[in-house]
């Protein structure tokens, strides 16, 4: 079956029936190619989602104050809720078991000047642990530390692009910049994977911001990092008990949806990942549809090939070909063609995916790729199905009496 002669015979047949070879090979190659590319795009989509939400820590709650919508325990509706330093301390104390860190955020925006250069930037009063929640990476200098918070120092940590805008080629470290009329010393420059906007920010100690604003103790919002060990369900229950705690502390009706908002990144991330995986499933579905179309295509061609060769097979049988050799001739030929063209399609698809890289980022496809295992599996599946599809008519052809096959049409 696998003798050199048998293969020679097969090669000759392939060579002398170019159209047939091309048709079946093309069907398989295009099927695998489309499968690989589509599947890779699905992965690229997932990558994009991961990238969108990957630059911030995921074990984080954002807690925003809102306005109450129903009256409660003597308070009118439409009351603005505010957080202050005491809330920070209370949460840290009461939820010590779960809380990794907690940091306030006081966001302002205004003109920032250095010598003749000036621009509008957002600045944010934060605590040192804010660095973890934003995954801020220090390029030089240092971040705000506890001593800064305690001493209410006029120190600022600026983004990479702020330094580039204001200082051009100069080193900003140690220089003084003007933020909304107050002079701040630059103690650090950071970068952030979240994009350009993230790198056009300035961080200052939140106590300094409070001092500037008439020594208030109000804070805008809180960012709470919980211990990752508590897991997804722990985070969900922490979220609800935190909400309950803050609502009772601020005298908000427990059923009031608007008093306090907690944005749970873990929950959001999970939803986004679910969306991404649903997309992946849809894309995989389409991709496997392509494979099935390919299988049907190759099956059709095999049926056609056997039909077309019925007379030839009859001649071969009259000359002494056994049914086994008839079947093996057809099958080896089809397996040979599908294997070669299947792997060509797979290689082309993989090469295309690899060469694309980030070029389709605008269409939410980043670094598309396909696991070699899946690509090889799909190829082998197609080969096996092609062989099976060829086997049935081949066996039928092998059973036809030569006299029937040779009958003149």
């Amino acid at each position: 079956m696998f003798s050199r002669d048998a293969w020679k015979e097969i090669f000759e047949t392939i060579q002398k029936n170019k159209l047939r070879t091309f048709l079946s090979g093309f069907t398989v190659a295009i099927g695998i190619f489309i499968f690989v590319v589509l599947y890779g795009f699905g992965n690229g989509l997932t990558n994009t989602f991961a990238k969108f939400f990957g630059d911030d820590a995921t074990n984080v709650f954002f807690i925003f104050p809102g306005r109450t919508s129903v009256p409660y325990s003597g308070y009118k509706a439409n009351r603005q809720i505010e957080f202050d330093n005491e809330d920070l301390a209370d949460i840290e104390k009461n939820f010590a078991m779960f809380v990794d860190y907690i940091t306030p955020r006081i966001s302002r925006s205004g003109l920032v000047k250095y010598k003749n250069e000036s621009n509008n930037y957002g600045n944010m009063g934060v605590a040192p642990s804010h660095q973890y929640s934003e995954k801020t990476i220090m390029m030089k200098g240092r971040y705000i530390n506890n001593q800064d918070v305690k001493d209410k120092t006029k120190y600022a940590v600026i983004g990479r692009l702020v330094e580039r805008d204001l200082f051009k080629d100069e080193d900003g470290l140690g220089k003084y910049i003007d933020i909304g009329g107050s002079s701040f010393k630059v103690i650090g420059v950071f970068q952030d994977d979240g994009g350009d906007n993230e790198e056009r920010k300035i961080y200052i100690p939140y106590t300094t911001r409070q001092l500037i604003e008439k020594n208030t103790d109000k804070i805008d919002q809180m960012v709470l990092g919980f211990k990752p060990q508590i897991g997804y369900s722990g985070a969900m229950s922490l979220e609800s008990s935190l909400e309950k705690y803050l609502k009772s502390k601020k005298f908000i009706n427990p059923n009031d949806e608007n008093g306090i908002f907690i944005r749970n990144i873990a929950d959001q991330l999970k939803q986004n990942q679910q969306l991404a995986s649903v997309l992946q499933i849809i894309v995989s579905f389409v991709a496997f549809g392509t494979i099935i179309a390919g299988i049907i295509g190759i099956s059709n061609i095999m049926v056609f090939v056997v039909k077309e060769r019925t007379k030839e097979l009859g001649i071969r049988k009259a000359l002494g070909a056994t049914p086994k050799s008839v079947i093996s001739t057809i099958l080896l030929e089809s397996i040979f063609i599908t294997t070669i063209s299947g792997f060509i399609g797979m290689l082309l698809g993989t090469v295309l995916l690899n060469s694309m890289g980030d070029t389709l980022e605008d269409y939410f496809i980043t670094d598309p790729y396909i696991d070699t295992g899946i690509a090889v599996f799909a190829t082998i599946l197609l080969i096996i199905c092609g062989a099976l599809a060829g086997y049935v008519p081949a066996r039928k052809a092998a059973k036809i009496k030569p006299i029937v096959a040779l009958r003149d049409e």
């Binding site: 015979e9 000759e12 086994k324 009496k401």
Partner: protein
Amino acid sequence: MIEIKDLHKSYKMGNNSLHVLKGINFNVKEGELVAIMGSSGSGKSTLLNILGMLDVLDEGSYTLDGVPIVDLNETKAAKYRNKFLGFIFQSFNLINYKSAAENVALPLYYQGVGRKERQEKALKYLEQVGLKQWAGHLPSELSGGQKQRVAIARALAAEPKVLMADEPTGALDSKTSYEVMDLIQKINDAGNTILIVTHEPDIADMCKRIVHLKDGVIVEDKIVDQVRASQYV
């Protein structure tokens, strides 16, 4: 060489059964050149197909070169065909994408003969039918007579015990027919046993023995004086 006893064969056509061969007794000795004649529907092709193991018999016995041909499955039939028989068809039945030499070499391939030997033998038999210089041509580049000679070379290549020809001249004009018959006579002169199915009396007259079939039985079986085809060529 061939012994047939009480051979019956019928075909099922829907509910009706068509009794084609109704008890044939027939022997062929080595070296004979036998013409099987009869009008269409007389069962002559059916007889040849059974002799050629292209079809199976319903009743009776068939012995070929001392080997009883019974319980034929496809694999066994293929082996016997390959070993014992060479076929020549009315429509030549060459494989159209193979060259003349490759067509001739094909039965040798199924005999398991090595590639080099196959090529040598193919050329030898092509030479015997006078087509050595056409060895590399495809069937589509050959005339009808040439095609039939390639088919004869192919039938000879397997060195069979018996050559079976089904209307070998049916698709050829009379001049070419005589050329082919001349070749067949020469092959017979070399000692090969040959059976020819034909309905043309002049072709039958070029054989050594004529068997007449009518309605599934042998009505006449006579030895004739052979007319040499070479005088017409």
